[in-house]
């Protein structure tokens, strides 16, 4: 059996680990709230944009041809992987890497690895794909100060690459925030645009309700379009694409903190159980030591009495 001193020092180390995991859980909970606030703050913008786009696409007669909608033979691909900057969030980041591999295996199995580039958002993805090779750009600073501006740079890099023919297809892989305990790895095609109408489609039922309310309110309005419907749509498409990536990044950010919260909660529980077992061992060892001591004293006393 382990010595009392050993058990005591293990108890000490486990309980200080438990304190750390507990604190991390608390921090993750606070950050999760902020991340969710960010999502909520983006909502009015996204809903308005969707409503205007829906309004425009519904009332234009001709098909809208965008430079972002041209499907070409797929030879070079850009994969946007959205991960976190830090670990200790359960399987959060490795799920993204698995998702990326699955997407490549499913869609681009025939392409040589050299034709697949990665745009890594978050330090974890950056480190992983730097080791693997094929990283474009450096977006390790996105989560340090999360704002639309930094995400926009990433989106513009992907869009410029698509326009200039460097990439024939752009897909993004990220964790969608379902609730604190559940994150779903999503793979979405960003470019080429499948259909302009699809951009106007809101993401959640709640958004859909808000957007359809907005659309309905403006259904019979005779708008003046400056300069023209088509041109407005052409300016709205890139705007909407950037929003799509921004939304993915925000979702991933919320997911990260949710995942970390759950992971740290489990770690705290596990540490608690470990502590219980260790305390039992400690008390047993202590009891055994006392019993031995008493036995020794009694034995000694008896030996004296007999002598």
């Amino acid at each position: 059996m382990a010595s009392l001193k050993e058990v005591r020092s293990r108890i000490q180390s486990v309980s200080s680990t438990q304190q750390i995991t507990k604190a991390m859980k608390m921090v993750a909970a606070a950050k999760l709230r902020r991340a969710q606030d960010n999502i909520i703050r983006m909502r009015p913008y996204a809903q308005r944009l969707n409503a205007i786009l829906a309004n425009l696409t519904r009332t234009t007669d001709n098909d809208i041809v965008s430079e972002y909608g041209v499907a070409r033979e797929v030879r070079r691909v850009l994969v946007i992987a959205v991960t976190s900057d830090r670990g200790l969030a359960g399987a959060f980041n490795s799920n993204v890497f698995k998702g990326v591999n699955a997407a490549i295996a499913e869609r681009y199995a025939g392409l040589p690895a050299a034709n697949i580039s990665y745009l890594a958002i978050g330090k974890k993805a950056h480190d992983y794909y730097t080791r693997k090779g094929g990283v474009v750009g450096n977006f390790t600073h996105v989560f340090a100060k999360l704002s639309f501006d930094t995400v926009r740079e990433a989106a513009e890099l992907a869009m410029d690459g698509f326009r200039s023919g460097t990439f024939d297809e752009v897909v993004m892989v990220y964790n969608e925030f379902k609730n604190v305990a559940t994150q779903i790895v999503r793979t979405e095609q960003l470019l080429p645009l499948v259909k302009v109408e699809a951009l106007a489609a809101p993401a959640t039922p709640r958004d859909a309700k808000a957007v359809s309310a907005l659309v309905e309110a403006t259904a019979n309005v005779d708008y003046i379009f400056e300069p023209s419907k088509e041109e407005i749509i052409q300016t709205l498409i890139p705007q909407s694409l950037k929003i799509q990536l921004y939304k993915a990044v925000l979702e991933s950010n919320a997911s990260e903190h949710g995942a970390r919260m759950t992971a740290m909660d489990k770690a705290t529980d596990n540490a608690g159980e470990l502590l219980k077992a260790l305390k039992l061992t400690y008390n047993r060892t202590r009891q055994a030591a006392i019993t031995t001591e008493i036995l020794e004293i009694v034995g000694g006393a008896e030996a004296l009495a007999a002598g």
Binding site: N38, R41, M42, P44, Y45, A46, R48, L49, I52, N55, L56, S147, F148, D149, R152, T218, V221, D222, Y223, I224, F225, E226, P227, E231, I232, T235, L236, Q239, K242, I243, Y246
Partner: protein
């Protein structure tokens, strides 16, 4: 009329104004009270608004503006007051 300038990050401006000037894709234009419904593309430039508090310029980085029933909403990609 009521003016709102929103970016994906935040609401940059919200309040009553008497007039607002926008950097339209085809040139500057101004919106006054009771303007007809309008949707216009904007390029990067200054939105100059006049309210009871005086004139104020907000730099935006392109976007779109919707005018409807004295409600003016600017969806800008970025904005600095």
């Amino acid at each position: 009329m009521h003016l709102e300038i929103i970016t994906p990050d935040r609401k940059v401006f919200e309040g009553e104004v008497t007039s607002a000037q926008f950097p339209g894709a085809d040139g500057l234009f101004e919106v006054l009270n009771n303007h007809a419904p309008l949707i216009a593309a904007l390029k990067a430039g200054n939105v100059t608004l006049t309210s009871a508090a005086g004139r104020e310029a907000i730099r935006i980085e392109g976007g779109v503006v919707e005018v409807l029933r004295n409600n003016v909403i600017v969806l800008a990609e970025g904005a600095v007051a």
